[in-house]
């Protein structure tokens, strides 16, 4: 097959990162790109500042109209790029504060059969932001990191416990993030498929050949 074996089952975390990087995030730019209206005729217009970018994959409006220290929203990959070049600082998302994380942890501990509703990309975002923008947080990063670790461990345990509800027809997984789903995918799909086979084998009285999918 043209796709290598390790990608045939589920996405790689790098691909998940790529998908997540397409989401918008708020930043404080440190440069101004907006073309302010020139009033007087005959003033020397700065040719170099008339560089309007045109981006292929996303709307360049926000990028071209940045005013320093006014918050604006761009895609994450763009924000990380600007941050790397020291041209902006990233605003931490609302749920990524010690208070909010503590609330989520409390919720997780209280309701053992549900997951708290944190954003679908929380793990990936945290990983990226801690790596590249750790100075933009109000709260100390190591505290945030330990909260995130706690959250991850609690959720992992819950998933492990909830696996006994696997059956051959459906699985309800509210509020699990994309990275968590991704890592669970091969296991759950494989087992549910087998359970489905067992179930349908017992229900059909014809020869099993007729019911098997031909997988070439």
């Amino acid at each position: 097959m043209s796709l290598p074996a390790h990608l045939q089952e589920t996405f790689s975390p790098e691909e998940i990162q790529f998908i997540v990087e397409n989401e918008p995030i708020k930043i404080f730019p440190r440069i101004t790109t907006r073309q302010l209206a020139r009033g007087r005729v005959g003033s020397v217009s700065d040719k170099s500042s008339s560089n309007q970018w045109r981006l292929i994959t996303t709307d360049a409006n926000n990028l071209n109209n940045m005013v320093a220290m006014q918050s604006t929203e761009v895609t994450l990959w763009l924000a990380l790029l600007l941050k790397q070049q020291n041209k902006c600082s990233i605003i931490a998302p609302k749920w990524l504060t010690i208070k909010e994380l503590d609330k989520s942890i409390q919720y997780e501990k209280k309701y053992l059969d549900r997951f708290s509703s944190i954003p679908w990309n929380w793990l990936v975002l945290c990983q990226l932001l801690f790596k590249r923008a750790s100075d933009d947080f109000h709260d100390p990063v190591h505290e945030l990191r330990s909260r995130i670790q706690d959250l991850r461990e609690i959720r992992q345990l819950k998933v492990l416990k909830g696996l006994k509800h696997l059956n051959n027809s459906h699985l309800q997984l509210d509020n699990i993030s994309i990275l968590e789903i991704n890592e669970l995918r091969p296991f759950i799909v494989g087992i549910m498929d087998k359970l489905r086979e067992i179930h349908s084998a017992s229900e059909s009285n014809d020869s099993s050949q007729a019911n098997e999918d031909i997988d070439i």
């Binding site: 975390p13 790098e14 696997l166 890592e183 091969p186 084998a201 020869s207 099993s208």
Partner: protein
């Protein structure tokens, strides 16, 4: 599925069969070429052979010719498949008592697939429920092993196959459960373990 190697290997499992007729010329199935097989002899035959011979049998074509009405005996299939060892009552009881600690691989390396085929052939709902519970219980144990990823720092040897990462898989593959998995479980374990490993590696890269 036709081309699937594990399916082919599963089909080669031997099933005890009882012949319903005398068939000359098939002695080689017993290891006695040239002799005939007598009615009610029991032989071990591979599933791919037994499966069809247990369905087809003496046709009713020839039976109508002599007008005889007592020809029910002629309509039996050529042989009758009997419960093989790996699905005997002893095994079923062992499954019901402790599914996770059962050494599935030593009972038969393709146990779950074979059980599936048997269920499909006989429509045996009881067996289906037993196998269903078995698969589910063992899958939880499987997942426990697959998700406990122990990462160690890889040494900087030049032959380190994982050039891109400083972490290496530190999982011990010799735990009793992992050695007792059958082929299907091994496949699932590999896939899910790789996925957990990749995720953890990505999360902990400095």
């Amino acid at each position: 599925m036709y081309y699937d190697i594990d399916d082919i290997l599963a089909d080669s499992a031997e099933i005890p069969c009882k012949f319903n007729y005398d068939i000359p010329g098939l002695g080689y199935l017993e290891g006695n070429p040239g002799k005939q097989i007598n009615k009610n002899t029991k032989i071990q035959l591979p599933l791919w052979l037994a499966r069809i011979l247990a369905i087809i049998g003496g046709d009713s074509e020839g039976a109508d010719e002599n007008g005889d009405e007592t020809n029910e005996n002629d309509n039996l299939p050529f042989l009758e498949m009997q419960t093989p060892d790996f699905l005997s009552n002893k095994v079923i009881n062992a499954i019901k008592t402790s599914p996770e600690s059962l050494d599935l691989h030593s009972i038969n390396s393709h146990f779950i697939e074979l059980a599936n085929k048997w269920i499909a052939l006989f429509g045996d709902t009881d067996l289906a429920n037993v196998i269903y519970d078995l698969t589910l219980a063992r899958s939880i144990e499987l997942n426990n092993h697959a998700s406990s990823v122990a990462l160690e720092l890889a040494s900087n040897k030049p032959d380190n196959s994982n050039k891109d990462s400083i972490y290496q898989d530190g999982n011990n593959i010799n735990t009793p459960f992992l050695l007792s998995m059958d082929e299907f479980e091994k496949k699932i374990y590999k896939k899910s373990h790789n996925s957990y490993k990749d995720t953890k590696k990505w999360l902990f890269e400095p």
